[in-house]
Amino acid sequence: MPEKIPADSVGIVETRHQSFEQPLALDCGRELPGFTLAYETYGTLNEDRSNALLICHALSSDQHAAGYHSMDDAKPGWWDRCIGPGKPFDTDEFFVVCPNNLGGCKGSTGPNTANPETGELYASDFPIVTVRDWVRSQKLLAEALGITRWAAVIGGSLGGMQAMQWAIDYPDSLEHALLIAAAPKLSAQNIAFNEVARQAIVSDVDFNGGRYYDRSIPKEGLMLARMLGHITYLSDDAMREKFGRELKEGKLNFGFDIEFQVESYLRHQGESFVSRFDANTYLLMTKALDYFDPAADFGGDLAAAFARTRARFLVVSFTTDWRFPPARSREITRALMRAGKRVSYCTIKAHQGHDAFLMPVPQYLSVLGAYTNQILAGA
């Protein structure tokens, strides 16, 4: 917990909610009769409403991207390293908006909220949502906030996919798109990892077809899913550096309890995740990842998908990211160039793997800062 709020923090923040009465048609063919998006904002919207940044969150995050909810918080929001006064997404200059995606579990309409048509929790009846559905709902939030054009739409990983979809679906509604540690679509290996994570959840005896809110939750399954996911977020190097083969008790015990530090760490990650995340949401988010493929509507031609975009792009990857390695970002970059779009691309040297996009890697922060400075200068 912060004893005092750091000077470069956005400080104490609160989540707001925007409800929409109109039905939202979804890609799966169903519609939500109405919905709510939880979101946070940092900084001030300027007079001509031209300084707004939209932050799209990844698989397991939410609307709390920066600052603290109270002085009792152990940690600030998930992207606090990038959002705040003087930081790359400078809240002295920009108005930053971060919503919780539909299907989330932190206040937006999702499995743990009530279906207005039945009065019961959606649980497993919540429709499968896609990146395109999220972007559609975010567009309605933008309109509600009076923002017709984002200065930039920004995201890492699954968030970068949303920024990409924004540029394709609403070409006139953003000036810049920042796609960080993203991919144009998942590989078979990516989908395979997601499937194992989902199977871990649904095969937990407590899962009960997704209807577990009034009983014990599928703790073991969600924990396993997170442990597996976490391995793919870190690099081999980072794990070696952090844990090596270090033993928790300094000796082998010839048993199946936790012996190596890395086992202890993963279990801890899994347990703390269970206390803050919902299993049904995890299933939905991994599906949205699996389904994402903007080129599919264009005969598999990503450059054709980008043809109508009007944003300028920044694409960033990290050397040790094996979940969405630099080659995947290069695919995006190549398609953008082929489509004749303005794009910059960098590979950041970082040992942290996919997680590097959340880390204070100096070159990464310099690139983001240079890019947003250049947005302000209107270069």
Binding site: L314, R342, V343, S344, C346, Q363, A370, A379
Partner: protein, 198 residues
């Protein structure tokens, strides 16, 4: 503005598409955008230069040119592919020249001329590898692994059926002189070429 870049700027037609290989801090592309209204992309490997390009709004792609342009760039997708003071640092300058003229309708290259009299004199009289203002590094730590003379370069172009569209040889300060015009391989410190195919 760096004088060699000034010469190149004057060779480039307005409103064209320019790819700058090893674009450094993006100075050339920045000027070309301002003075020639070009659409440009730079390729660069150095982290600090990447940040400088982005800061001034020059589009830059971080890649290692030794990997070639491969499938990143379509045939004839640029009017000009430019490479200043980088050719001699490439692992295979000959292959890169081919790539430049695949991706670009024309190529513009500059390189330090090893045939300059001061280089010849140092080899002949002092018997050591030349160290000059145009080539300041020692043999063991220089990035320039494929130095050539103007004559070498023109032989390569002839063998590859590359056409010389324009040539300027200048001194270290990028000043043209009568001597460098008359005896380019002996008097020119830096060579600047505009090349085409066939």
């Amino acid at each position: 503005m760096r004088p060699d870049l000034e010469i190149i700027r004057d060779w480039i037609q307005p409103d064209s598409r320019v790819l700058d290989l090893g674009c450094g801090d993006g100075e050339l592309l920045w000027w070309l955008k301002r003075d020639r209204n070009i659409a440009g992309i730079g390729l660069e490997i150095d982290d600090d230069n990447i940040v400088r390009c982005i800061e001034r709004g020059v589009d830059v792609i971080q890649i290692n040119l030794d990997e070639g342009l491969r499938d990143d760039f379509d045939d004839r997708s640029f009017d000009y592919v430019v490479m200043t003071q980088t050719l001699q640092a490439m692992r295979r300058p000959d292959l890169l020249l081919d790539e430049m003229l695949r991706v670009g309708k024309e190529a513009i290259v500059t390189f330090p001329n090893m045939g300059h009299w001061s280089n010849r004199l140092q080899m002949l009289l002092a018997g050591h590898m030349p160290v000059t203002r145009a080539l300041p590094a020692a043999w063991y730590d220089t990035a320039n692994i494929h130095l050539c003379t103007i004559r070498d370069f023109e032989v390569l172009c002839r063998d590859k059926n590359i056409r010389r569209l324009q040539r300027t040889t200048v001194d270290y300060n990028h000043k043209a002189s009568v001597s460098a015009r008359l005896l380019p391989n002996l008097m020119g410190e830096i060579a600047i070429y505009r090349l085409g195919r066939g």
